[in-house]
């Protein structure tokens, strides 16, 4: 994991002092509310429906045990004993008081954390594959790149007042687990024909009210040119992005309006004018960062763990959890374990402070002190010995964290929705809870197999509904919540935007509708194809028909 040096530490401390001063200037009237708003947003402080909300950055989703314990402490001392992991792998506290925020920022700085740029019209928390350093198909760990970008984008003098927010994601594997094509910039690490490492640069993806899939503007950018090239992209966006309409201000609209080729040409022209070597990080600096992400000292283990096999044979629940929640590790005898924060009936992504401590202890004891937060709002223990899995699982069971549903229909992504968010037009969490209850049966979930349900409580799409195999969008129609169902979205390198199945449904009809959709799949699937494969083969029509039936069924 990356550790702050003296410069990073000083930077974050100075930032806390700066925020204290900003709060003081707001209170004495030097700053008016309009002027203060972007300053507080860039420190993660939102004004929500009922209270302030604080969003803490978890860069590329990587956390140490010490950091998670500190989050638990903050949650107990300044909030209501729980936190919420977001689809940007951040942690949100929903009930802090504004006057406590500087003290919370100090506590975060104590463990090398901050809230910098977790909101506002600037470059947001950089995300990466949550199986970075674990996946066998990895070309290079994306986290050193993400850390380099985190530093470069922090308080960037030129790019802190962009037309709109700007999100960057990095993947280093053939498989995309970071939804890079739904980002303002998606970077895919790859090797060229000469075997050199570089990036495929994609720009203009995004969800929200105008979902777009990112377009490739550079098929191979040499690794050492990254920061200068990013400066060019951001400069073109800062100058050319629309500022007349907030809903048309993301870079995806610019790329769409002028075309990816023109956008690419503008970037390349700007890039040609720059003095790249004066901007990019030295190879020594890149190596310094990368060294923090070196592999931990793995034990030499047999590929097959006798203890693990025995545990599975003796305990069916453990065997199910292992079959569903484990991810193959590149090192023999190890596994990466997904810890689901989607227990049936709970709010997706919520975690109590007591659970945080259990997770921190498990990571310390079994996973080289490291945890990952995923964009699917779960936690990963990235490097555990298979011999230890049974003991880990038993601890998880006691903590209510052993739900065996990673990637299944009840592993639902949901935004906070109208229960918390001032932008929301409908509730998300109760829909997720109702669906989870409907599909709670473990055997049935396993039979259905991989199926991503994603729920957003408004058109801003924080719940990624556009790229859900089944997407649910909560809107408000004449004072009532109305839920639109989309089908066929895909968050991988085959990225696709789901298509609308028809008019919106009332909240109480959503579980029935989803069940009917699933039944169509179960009735028509061939040769073990997954839900999304069936949808691609069958098209929308058979699914639309059941939604129509639901709409017109007598109450």
């Amino acid at each position: 994991m990356y550790r702050y040096d003296e410069f990073d530490a000083r930077f974050v401390r100075e930032r806390v002092a700066q925020f204290r001063d900003q709060v003081a200037r707001r209170l004495d009237g030097a700053l008016n509310e309009d002027e203060f708003k972007p300053l507080r947003l860039k420190n993660g402080v939102y004004l929500q429906l009922h209270a302030y909300m604080l969003r803490i950055a978890i860069p590329y989703g990587t956390l140490s045990s010490r950091q998670l314990r500190q989050l638990a402490l903050i949650g107990e001392k300044y909030d209501r004993g729980y936190g919420h992991f977001t689809t940007r792998t951040n942690m949100q506290f929903n009930w802090p008081r504004l006057r406590d925020v500087p003290a919370i920022l100090d506590l975060l700085a104590d463990v090398e954390m901050h809230c910098i740029q977790t909101s506002g019209n600037c470059i947001r928390n950089v995300t990466a594959d949550h199986f970075a350093g674990v996946a066998a198909d990895e070309i290079e760990d994306p986290r050193p790149t993400a850390e380099l970008i985190r530093q470069w984008s922090s308080l960037h003098p030129e790019f802190d007042y962009l037309p709109r927010k700007f999100k960057i994601a990095v993947t280093g594997s053939a498989q995309d687990r970071a939804v890079i094509k739904a980002h303002d910039i998606g970077l895919r690490i790859l090797r060229n024909a000469k075997g050199e490492i570089g990036y495929e640069v994609m720009v203009g993806g995004g969800l929200g009210r105008t979902p777009m899939i990112a377009k490739t503007i550079r098929s191979f950018l040499p690794k050492d040119e990254l920061l200068a090239y990013l400066e060019s992209v951001l400069r073109v966006y800062n100058l050319e992005g629309r500022r007349d309409n907030k809903y048309k201000a993301r870079v995806k609209i610019l790329v769409h309006e002028i075309g990816a080729e023109t956008f690419s040409r503008l970037v390349e022209e700007e890039y040609a004018r720059l003095d790249g070597p004066s901007i990019v990080a030295d190879p020594e600096e890149v190596a310094r960062i990368a060294a923090y992400f070196a592999s931990p000292h793995y034990e030499k283990l047999p590929a097959r763990s006798a203890a693990f096999e025995k545990g599975k044979a003796k305990n069916r629940a453990f065997a199910t959890w292992a079959a569903v929640n484990l991810f193959a590790h590149k090192i023999p005898g190890y596994a990466a374990a997904t810890i689901s924060l989607k227990a049936i009936g709970e709010a997706p992504g919520d975690v109590t402070c007591a659970q945080m401590r259990v997770l921190a202890d498990l990571a310390q004891q079994y996973s080289f002190d490291e945890l990952r937060i995923t964009h699917a709002q779960n936690v990963v223990l990235p490097h555990v010995e298979q011999d230890d899995l049974l003991a880990i699982w038993q601890t998880l069971v006691e903590a209510g964290l052993a739900t065996a549903n990673a990637g299944l229909i009840t592993d639902i992504i949901a935004c906070p929705g109208l229960d918390y968010c001032s932008l929301a037009t409908a509730r998300s969490i109760p829909i997720a809870q109702a669906l989870a209850h409907r599909f709670a049966d473990q055997k049935r979930q396993l039979d259905i197999g991989e199926l991503n349900v994603k729920i957003s409580g408004c058109i801003n799409a924080c719940g990624h509904h556009h790229v859900g195999h089944i997407g649910i969008l909560g809107l408000e129609k004449s004072g009532k919540e109305s839920y639109q169902i989309t089908l066929g979205g895909d968050a991988t390198l085959n990225a696709a935007i789901g298509e609308n199945l028809g008019p919106g449904l009332a909240a109480q009809d959503v579980p029935d509708a989803i069940e009917r959709i699933v039944d169509v799949y179960l009735a028509h699937r061939q040769n073990g194809e997954s839900f999304i494969e069936s949808v691609r083969r069958l098209g929308l029509e058979p699914f639309k028909a059941v939604i129509q039936e639901k709409l017109h069924a007598p109450a």
Partner: protein, 167 residues
């Protein structure tokens, strides 16, 4: 309108004259008149230009060696185009004074300086609410940031210096 630079308050000795007709030693003209003002500048006047943030830096390229000042408008503090225009003008080799003009806030002063601005011109009300000492203090609140090419003090170069000193 009040003017300040990194040292504090400053007297504005430029005369705004959009068409360049004013008889003054330093005349700030509109973009449309910059060519004429420079061409007819037999009187030893210094010429500056005030531009909207929709003007491309390149459009000023032919005049940059003859201009003493470029004033870039910030229609609101949230509109950051001026930062990029300033950066581009410095890339193009502009050596004169760069002025940011508009309702910026003190917390943007460090950014403005880092992007190549020398001074900020504020509306009266803004300056009254945010006294000069707040600007000077805000500019120093973060001692080093991470970007190379944005002022002398940056963490990447400091790390490099530390590396070299350690060798």
């Amino acid at each position: 309108m009040p003017l300040l630079d990194r040292n504090g308050a400053k007297t504005d000795d430029w005369t705004l004259s959009p068409d360049g007709a004013a008889d003054a030693p330093r005349v700030l003209v509109a973009f449309d008149h910059v060519q004429n003002a420079l061409a007819g500048n037999g009187r030893g006047r210094r010429i500056g230009v005030a531009i909207a943030n929709t003007i491309k830096a390149e459009a000023l390229a032919p005049f940059l060696t003859d201009l003493d000042l470029v004033s870039i408008a910030f229609p609101s503090y949230g509109d950051g185009r001026g930062f990029s225009i300033a950066k581009q003008l410095r890339h193009l080799g502009f050596k004169g004074t760069l002025r940011a003009s508009g309702p910026l806030i003190a917390d943007q002063f460090a950014y403005a300086l880092a992007c190549g601005f020398d001074e900020v011109e504020l509306p009266e009300a803004q300056a009254a609410r945010q006294p000069v000492d707040q600007w000077v203090r805000a500019a120093a609140s973060i001692s080093k940031t991470y970007q190379r090419g944005f002022g002398a003090q940056n963490i990447l170069d400091a790390r490099r210096a530390a590396r070299l000193a350690g060798k």
